[in-house]
Amino acid sequence: MAARVEACTPCHGNKGEGTTDVYFPRLAGKPSGYLYNQLLAFRSGRRKYPPMNYLLEFLPDQYLQDMADYFASQHPPLPTPAASEASGEVLKRGEALVTHGDVSAQIPACASCHGPALLGMEPGIPGLLGLRPNYVSAQLGGWRYGTRTAKAPDCMQQVAARLTEADVTAVAAYLATRPAPANAAPVPKGSYVLPFACGSEPE
């Protein structure tokens, strides 16, 4: 399988660990269902990024599933977090949103869906560790402006719509400071109850 996904590796790393380009995400160890959903969305053009749309256009479902399974089963170590350039105040706001949310703005904590350890949950919720701030803020921005969408009910769209620009910066900066645990695998399906319905993680 490694040879079949060689087309992915210059941007995503040999084992999906990511590369020096901050906009290309780590794939390794993310839940297979999440990766598969993204591959389907890129193939149909619902998630727009022309180089990805082009590569996947004529590949069958089963093959995309195989690719998703492959990267889900890779576990290269998470990178050591880089020193953050964000101020202490920004990181504090980020920590608050990630761990507690903001009740007054009706923003749930990231951890309430992505897990207390932010490692994600099988089959559809991705972990948030090992991603660079630029990537995270670009994705949250995509949801806020409607250029990234997911299966209805699109919970991330609902959450991101309530975030301000400053919130996005804070969350992205804080997440990138989180140290890597020894076992970074997502938790099994149903390990905790989601605060609201999510199309990517059906009951």
Partner: protein, 418 residues
């Protein structure tokens, strides 16, 4: 006696009933056969490629087709009576295929390949129509065309038709085999290969004498190579098996399909029967002509060329040789050979430059469901490095192409990927 008579009557009635039922059954079976054949022919004609929008309902149309004259939107060909072809007769359908006219006589834009479909027989047109009538109707109004003045005037199509359209079903060439004729019928008719593999002139037409001589596909910036010149995609030196492999699975010992041809194999050619694929191969091999034109001459100064080629070898050995081999021998069929690969050597360097920039996967097909892919190098190589490696593979190992410039490489960075 009476009871015997009644009994006989009953038996007769029963037998008649059986006869009627079996006639009805035979008719349904015949209709089913026609629908099935129609589905096969619709695939051979690749109707779905244009008449289904990305992520849209099958055959419901509205796929945008950018042209140099503006954007056309394909029509809904599901049997919905209001928005599709539900009210059409088989005559109406044949008129669109054969004459390029709507049931009311209106002129169809030649983005619909009626100049090729005119060669399709009435029986095949009827089968396709029967198939389209059998699919679920979708109520979805097709989007209006968005053409610039003066191209939004349909009367202009009359001029185009005078220049480029000859109406008429395919006529067998008695001097050729049945297989050759079947191949010609598929390639020139339903396959509408000439829509891309012929030079498109400024009027958006193809002249008969230039048929299958290759051309840059407008708006897509891929080069559809000549099917007649062995210096391009002419298949004169290919074995029949290599040709059928390429058409049916997307990969072969000689090369793989990519770009717009990947779509054709994915939607259409992979579904051909072995017999039809072979017939196309026989015909395609037959129309290839040995090269008469002299070897192309480079426009780059010699010093620039040799610098590029020497840098190109370094780039190649580092990034490409692990799959394509130190001598460009590849590991066919999944890692195509680059040595003696017409697609690399041909006069237009558009395709090799784009493959280096964009990479790509051949289509997943029944014969090759898990294709191997090539990484995009656009983000890793500079314009100069792209030009260098393309110049190298076009001239190394006995390849007879010409070097390309960094400017050529740069211009294709913005080529569309959809």
């Amino acid at each position: 006696m009476t009871s015997l008579f009644t009994a006989l009557l009953r038996i007769a009635a029963l037998l008649t009933g059986i006869a009627v039922a079996s006639a009805a059954h035979a008719q349904t079976a015949a209709t089913n056969d026609i629908i099935k054949r129609g589905e096969y022919l619709a695939r051979a004609g690749d109707c779905i490629a244009c008449h289904t929008a990305p992520d849209g309902r099958t055959f419901a149309g509205s796929r945008p087709m950018p042209t140099p004259f503006g954007t056309l939107y394909s029509s809904n060909i599901t049997p919905d009576p209001e928005t599709g072809i539900g009210k059409w007769s088989a005559d109406d359908f044949y008129k669109t295929m054969h004459s390029g006219r709507f049931p009311d006589g209106g002129l169809i834009y030649p983005a619909m390949p009626f100049a090729s479909y005119t060669k399709v027989t009435r029986a095949d047109s009827d089968a396709i129509f029967a198939y389209l009538k059998s699919i679920p109707p979708v109520r979805e109004k097709s989007r209006e065309h968005d053409l610039r003045f003066p191209y939004n005037n349909r009367q202009l199509i009359l001029g185009w038709r005078t220049l480029f359209f000859t109406e008429g079903e395919y006529k067998n060439d008695p001097a050729k085999s049945a297989e050759w004729n079947r191949g010609a019928y598929l390639v020139e008719g339903l396959g509408h290969c000439g829509m891309c593999h012929s030079p498109i002139n400024a009027l958006g037409g193809t002249s008969q004498s230039d048929a299958f001589k290759g051309g840059l596909i407008p708006m897509q910036n891929w080069y559809a190579p000549s099917l007649t010149s062995n210096r391009e995609a002419g298949l004169g030196n290919w074995s029949i098996k290599d040709i059928t492999d390429l058409l049916q699975t997307g990969v072969s010992a000689r090369g793989v399909v990519y770009g717009p041809m990947a779509e054709v194999v994915h939607n259409s050619l992979q579904y051909l029967t072995d017999e039809d694929a072979r017939a196309m191969a026989v015909y395609l091999k037959g129309i290839a002509e040995g090269s008469t034109s002299s070897a192309p001459v480079s426009t780059l100064p010699t010093t620039e060329s040799s610098l590029l080629i020497s840098l190109g070898k370094t780039v190649y050995d580092k990034n490409c040789a692990s799959c394509h081999g130190a001598q460009g021998e590849g590991k066919p069929p999944h890692w195509p050979p680059l040595a003696n690969n017409q697609s690399i050597e041909m006069e237009s360097a558009v395709n090799p430059i784009r493959m280096v920039l964009n990479g790509g996967y051949p289509p997943g097909t029944n014969g090759n469901p898990r294709p191997y892919g090539m990484p995009p190098f656009a983000g890793m190589l500079s314009d100069n490095e792209v030009a260098a490696v393309v110049s190298y593979i076009r001239t190394a190992w006995g390849n007879r192409g010409t070097p390309v410039s960094a400017r050529d490489a740069n211009q294709l960075r913005s080529a569309p990927l959809d």
